[in-house]
């Protein structure tokens, strides 16, 4: 390892002014509270075979055994064995599993945050079927409570709490859309409409790097004549609480969207091209809502595939080869495998799959907040190199994806390695290649309206 320098920055960040004891206690308390039967079952089932390492991009690119997925939840497992497991009193009295101490938590911060994108690839290899990504998420909750998470990620959390979104104060939302997007791209945006069938949400990327995407979604929705709107009180879909392990914030952000959708009578809520947004709202919202949501939650990719498949929009064919990067939260953990491929095909691309694709696709390396956590960059770039190699093996001309975070991560990687490949978004491609001739569009407008009503 490296020689310790005098003023070397510690390898972990701390939030708040608390004693170590308080931090440990907060973490332990949270770990313990989070255990349900399923997590317990996972804890009990592990046979320490270590195969999950082979599925993890951080292990595979570094060969460092500490990046073995199941190892990353060691403190969580200790808490379980000591306090919750079937033999907890025995473990505790005989001290068979040591107490988690502050040093361990500090050391594990890197493993839980910097080197895990919660991509869930590890659970596809696990012979016991353990959903490690879910355990990581639960463990992050404890780390958040202990104030022991990467500062950059917590900063985003704090900002979100303050502003309602990590990208902008919600009060400024309408103004940004109008001035920075509507005026720039010239596509009329529907903002803060009282009632609408479709509530469209956004991720911070779309208010920063990918503003064109906002115009593009408006373009498509306007084209099909949908009854839709953006809402200042419900646009923030990238659930930073979900990523940080700040469950309370996750709840707040989730309910913000749910309440707004219900308030405006939305039948459908469209999530942006963002993976974690999908996992958070589509698959976890009912944890707080308590029952199935009264409206549909669909990902942008699902929406695009839907309108393309139904013929509501038509696109020009692009005669080129392409490969598609599977966003983990959308594909592996979201079950949206075919829709992006339908879109790629509709666009006329000759799709060449990477060696590991679909359910087994490698993560971009930036999910789970890793992209925001700048100190993890070296790790992330190693993953990028692998991803780049995989893409190059396909010999495809275009590199497509349908997640803003993946796109930023891959684009950042390309820039770092001076790779001239552009990472393209399905949404933008569809919008750019949409055939807008009047005859057909009038037709489709009619049908769309009917369809929307039928759907409702």
């Amino acid at each position: 390892m490296s020689v310790a320098k005098k003023n070397q920055k510690p390898h972990f960040d701390k939030q708040g002014d608390r004693t170590d004891e308080e931090r440990v206690e907060a973490a332990m308390q949270t770990f313990i509270q989070d255990f349900g039967a399923t997590a317990a079952l996972y804890m009990e089932s592990c046979v320490s075979c270590g195969m999950c390492a082979e599925a993890c991009q951080f292990y595979v690119t570094t060969d460092d055994p500490k990046y073995t997925p199941i190892y990353k939840i060691k403190p969580f497992k200790q808490a379980y064995k000591r306090h919750i497991g079937p033999f907890a009193p025995i473990y505790r009295v005989l001290n068979l599993t040591p107490k988690v101490d502050i040093k361990e938590l500090e050391d594990w911060q890197e493993l839980l945050y910097d080197s895990c994108t919660m991509c869930g690839r590890c659970s596809t290899i696990c012979p016991m079927g353990i959903d490690i990504a879910d355990l990581i998420k639960q463990a992050r909750h404890g780390m958040y409570k202990a104030g022991l998470m990467p500062e950059r990620m917590d900063l985003m959390g704090r900002t979100t709490k303050l502003w309602g979104s990590p990208a902008t104060p919600i009060e400024d939302f309408a103004e940004i859309l109008e001035e920075d997007i509507q005026d720039v791209y010239g596509e009329p945006l529907v903002i803060d409409k009282e009632k609408a069938d479709i509530l469209v949400t956004l991720a911070p990327a779309e208010l920063g790097d990918h503003t064109k995407a906002v115009a593009d979604i408006a373009k498509i929705l306007n084209h099909i004549g949908a009854d839709w709107t953006f809402r200042s009180d419900g646009f923030e879909a990238s659930n930073i609480g979900y990523i940080n392990g700040d469950i309370e914030l996750q709840e707040k952000l989730t309910m913000q969207l749910v309440d707004t959708a219900i308030k405006i009578g939305a039948k459908t809520l469209i999530l942006p091209e963002c993976g974690h947004a999908y996992s958070a709202l589509r698959w976890e919202a009912s944890r707080w809502y308590g029952k199935p949501l009264p409206f549909r939650v669909i990902h942008m990719t699902e929406f695009l595939a839907e309108v393309l498949n139904e013929g509501k929009i038509k696109v020009k064919k692009i005669d080129a080869t392409a490969s598609f990067h599977d966003p983990c939260q959308l594909v592996r953990r979201g079950g949206v495998v075919e829709p992006p491929r339908d879109i790629v095909k509709a666009l006329g691309y000759d799709l060449i799959e990477m060696e590991d694709s679909g359910n087994f696709g490698w993560c971009c390396g930036g999910g789970g907040g890793v992209i925001s956590n700048t100190r993890a960059n070296p790790l992330r770039f190693k993953v990028f190199e692998m991803k780049k190699e995989q893409f190059e093996e396909t010999g495809a001309e275009h590199f497509l994806t349908s997640c803003g975070q993946c796109r930023i991560t891959l684009t950042g990687g390309a820039k770092k390695f001076n790779w001239d490949k552009k990472i393209e978004s399905l949404l933008e491609l569809v919008a750019d290649n949409m055939i807008e001739d009047d005859a057909s569009s009038e037709d489709s407008k009619e049908t769309t309206k009917e369809n929307t009503k039928e759907e409702a």
Partner: protein, 221 residues
């Protein structure tokens, strides 16, 4: 002779009772923990029936790694199969073992000729040794391993080696070897519900739970 009677009598009875106490203890201690409620709308077309099917699919699908992993995890998987099948064959298809099970449960079935079992035992024993060597040498497994991992290996290995010695009349008199063999089984039974060997039962539930979770989302199991 006295040792054999102790092994066949007191020790085996005790081990069996501990085994069942432990089994039920562990099972109920997990099953009675609260289940987190998440009543999200499942993917279209996924109902209770589909999820039930997925449970079983999940159990079977994880029996062999996806091709993406075959190269990297070749040894672990292949060797894992060798000793799991080996243990199964040796335990369930050896004549005297079938007699043991019949005596215990009343169920019996056909068994294989002993020479085949002897061969399988040797293979299984070698495979288990390979497991240990791999665990000690592979950085990932070494890092993950706790004392329990080694102990679980030990209590699995012991019946194999003592069984081979018993069959081969090697090292001591038959009754002593048989007694040690039975005692090693007792140790295995006693430890089984308390350590990771329990995965022999738990895999049904953990694989199933994940399969249902993924099926709910319409994702691949």
């Amino acid at each position: 002779m006295e040792l054999l009677q102790f092994a066949r009598g007191t020790a085996l009875n005790f081990a069996l009772l501990v085994f069942f106490v432990g089994l039920a203890w562990r099972f109920f201690a997990i099953a009675l923990l609260p289940f987190k409620k998440n009543p999200t709308q499942p993917r279209d077309g996924v109902g209770t029936k589909e999820k039930a099917v997925a449970w079983f699919q999940g159990i079977f699908m994880r029996m062999w790694p996806h091709k993406s992993f075959r190269k990297a995890s070749f040894f672990t998987f292949v060797n894992g199969y060798v000793f799991h099948i080996g243990l199964f064959v040796v335990f369930f298809l050896f004549g005297p073992h079938v007699s043991f099970i019949k005596d215990l449960t009343g169920f019996s079935w056909a068994y294989l000729p002993s020479p085949i079992i002897h061969f399988a035992s040797v293979i299984t024993t070698l495979s288990l040794i390979a497991v240990l060597v791999y665990r000690l040498r592979n950085p990932v497994q070494r890092l993950l391993s706790t004392a329990e991992d080694y102990f679980a290996w030990f209590v699995t290995f012991l019946p194999m080696i003592t069984g081979l010695m018993t069959v081969g009349h090697f090292g001591a008199r038959y009754e002593t070897l048989l007694a040690i063999h039975i005692l090693s089984i007792c140790l295995l039974l006693v430890w089984f519900p308390f350590g990771k060997l329990m995965h022999a039962f738990l895999f049904v539930f953990s694989r199933g739970a994940t399969a249902v979770r993924m099926k709910h989302r319409g994702a691949q199991l």
